[in-house]
Symmetry: C2
Subunit: 229 residues, 2 copies
Amino acid sequence: MANTEQVKLLGFWASPFARRVEWALKLKGVDYEYIEEDIFNKSSLLMELNPVHKKVPVLVHGRKVIAESFVILEFIDETWKQCPLMPQDPYERAKTRFWAKFAEEKILDGAWIAMCSLGEEKEKAIKLAVEAIEKIEGELKGKHFFGGENIGYLDIAMGWMSYWLPVWEEVGSMKIVNPLQFPATTSWMNKFLDHPVIKENLPPRDKMIIYFQNRSTELASRPHDWFRT
Amino acid sequence: MANTEQVKLLGFWASPFARRVEWALKLKGVDYEYIEEDIFNKSSLLMELNPVHKKVPVLVHGRKVIAESFVILEFIDETWKQCPLMPQDPYERAKTRFWAKFAEEKILDGAWIAMCSLGEEKEKAIKLAVEAIEKIEGELKGKHFFGGENIGYLDIAMGWMSYWLPVWEEVGSMKIVNPLQFPATTSWMNKFLDHPVIKENLPPRDKMIIYFQNRSTELASRPHDWFRT
């Protein structure tokens, strides 16, 4: 059976994109070998497996090689059917994909640029991210997770907000998710972090602070040079 | 049955994103009402249906409202099962999604920026688009369509290259797809255009030339302001 083939994941400890894939594999109970990649000195294995983007995460399943975290999440969900991440209904699936793309483009990119920039550019990026979270707040009201009672695709896609965003806020001396302004989002962030699979699969916070301080200083003159390495 | 509910599409005649949705609906034989949107004077209907992005295309199916062309394509494929657009195999699906995203970010955005800019920025954008097409050329070798014998998701996603790209090349006084350099891509572009459903669903070329000339002049100082309206 294809599903018994060996699974490998090339990741980087501070990457929220690689961590997404780990969360999905662990939630589904799929065994895998994790290979840490040095993104500042990329291995020949990474260059060979992902010659198009040369970035992590890369999932290897037997002879199949998949890149791009959202693409990998859908592949995992379609390959290992247990604990489905995507809803079954086509409209619910469409909404999930819509919000995942929205959060990636507006909140994640906005928060990253805000952390790496100063002055007017920073203020503009914070404003855009906050406006995006206003939309998400409405989607979350009355829900435990985006996926209902259990963590689903959209929770995994946006899960970085629970742990990476507070680090980026600290590094960038800024506030994007104000708990009083966004009670539903804050409550969801806490519930997500409190899930046993998630809380046991997070990088050390102090190490992240140092890493992102260095990255944001390095990228200060070009915040749009994104870190999806 | 949900699938007998009324289908409406809000589009704009020159939008390759709205046209994708039309191609998918026509290939599947789904009846729909087309509503032309004035993107320079957006209707209250568009603002109400797509408050997040305020952009076309928007698909309405009964009470369901879906935005973002790739999200709509997957919704259509999951809702109307005839003439499947996506492959069935999870790995083939992953590759389809990977290349669709790649082409959108590298070729479409690159070609657009190249058309709207001058000098060094234009040369850089052309180079990036050409390098991306080199990768696509390899994927197409020996194939009729990306989808095999029939037009599939990736053909629809990249179909703009057959008709919009030559217009952008003319408007931008540039060449991105050189037939001698990219014979497989050129052959695919011709086959795609020659498909009865596609060739009957294209905007008038002379009107497109004028429209994109105006847009590229207007956006010359800010080519990154994208036209996904």
